[in-house]
Amino acid sequence: MMELDLFREYGPALLRGLGVTIFCWIVGTACAMALGFLLALVQRGVSARPVQWILRAYVEFIRGTPFLVQLFVLYYGAPMLGLRLDAMPAGLLGLTIYGSPYFAEIFRAGLNAVPLGQIEAARAMGFAPATILRRIMIPVMLVSALPALVNFSIILTKETVILSMITVPEIMFETQTMMAETFAFAESTLVLALFFWVFVETISRIGRRLERRATHYLLDRS
């Protein structure tokens, strides 16, 4: 009875929260990946010392500080610099920045793992550098980088709950709102924990299946 009432009252908000969680995860991950790839290309392609230093400092700073503090700087601190963001854009920007150095490292390792001979073969055939990148290096790199990409994307699902701390109305935030009004602290938290457990397990499995499918052709030889 009571549970039903609770659900009728808070269900829509929770569902909306779930939607926001998934939205933030997908958009944030995609943007972080894009920025990470860009960073990896710059790191590989631009040898100017100052650029490398700035890049290095950026990576060290982001990897050395908590995501929560980064969000606080962005959401509460940035307005002083004239950058006034709502919670959601701040959260997405935060996810992008936070994830980018990790993705950059994955892409860098993947690009380095492309055998030089394959690049030379393309060069010998007269491919332009951009074509080599697009047609040879990226596809080959993706295969070896895929497990790490999937893995870190899954880690990011869990980081999305931290967005609740800057009032992004994702599922954790909505649950806490509900808890504050109903005092069902333990039950709600437990349900939320179980939900995440199932959610993360499910996407891990999907991720592993995708990996296998994407690298299937590599295994068929022997």
């Binding site: 500080t65 908590p66 995501f67 503090v69 601190g77 980081e159 931290i162 333990a186």
Partner: protein, 215 residues
């Protein structure tokens, strides 16, 4: 205007709160190492029940965000009659969570130890307990040292989440100061650099330790 004076004024208080950050991450890492070693032994044991337990444990603590785990401990423990201070509950939770990751790190390291290492120990007649404590775990620890140092750095950052259960470590303290001084940018950046400094020191110590462990 960016106010350096605010930073200078508040740095001592903020830095002092770092002891809770260090306590939670350090003690959490130590607990995680102990529990993690046990979970790892269970994960590679012959008993199906032990393996299943280890699998569930790792899946749960890696699947549920730490923020939720902390709240769970905070709300659930009193309900089942466990009344411990928030700090102890936080350290315990961080330790349990770290154990899941550390057990996987150790398991990977165990796989990297040649089979002959244990076989030689069996042939000499060492008991299973001694094979673990004298032969396998010391080597696993060495192989996994870089990953363990990395885990400690992750824990330093993760310890910022214990603000939700009210422990005044760096992040919580910076929130308090930021709202009192209306200088969030300076204060949060200071907090960020404090974390960065701690982690750079840990990374340097870790590299030093690795060099010394080279056999």
């Amino acid at each position: 205007m960016f106010s350096f004076q605010t930073i200078i004024d508040n740095l001592p208080v903020l830095a002092a709160s770092a002891r809770y950050t260090l306590l939670i991450s350090g003690a959490g890492c130590l607990l995680g190492l102990i529990f993690g070693a046990l979970i790892c032994v269970a994960a590679v044991s012959r008993a199906p029940a032990a393996r299943a337990f280890a699998g569930l444990y790792v899946s749960f603590f890696r699947g549920v965000p730490l923020l939720i785990q902390l709240l769970l401990a905070f709300y659930l423990l009193p309900l089942v009659g466990v009344n411990v201070p928030a700090l102890a509950a936080a350290i315990f939770t961080v330790g349990l969570c770290a154990a899941a990751y550390i057990s996987e790190i150790l398991r990977g390291a165990l796989n990297a130890i040649p089979r002959g290492q244990a076989e030689a120990a069996i042939a000499v007649g060492l008991s299973p307990r001694h094979i673990w404590t004298r032969i396998l775990l010391p080597q696993a620890l060495k192989i996994s040292m870089p990953a363990l140092v990395n885990e400690l750095i992750l824990l330093v950052k993760a310890s910022s989440l214990v603000t939700v259960v009210g422990i005044v470590e760096i992040t919580r303290m910076s929130q308090a100061i930021a709202s009192a001084t209306y200088r969030p940018l300076e204060i949060y950046l200071t907090a960020a650099f404090l974390y960065l400094a701690i982690n750079l020191v840990i990374a340097a110590l870790g590299r030093n330790l690795e060099r010394r462990l080279a056999w």
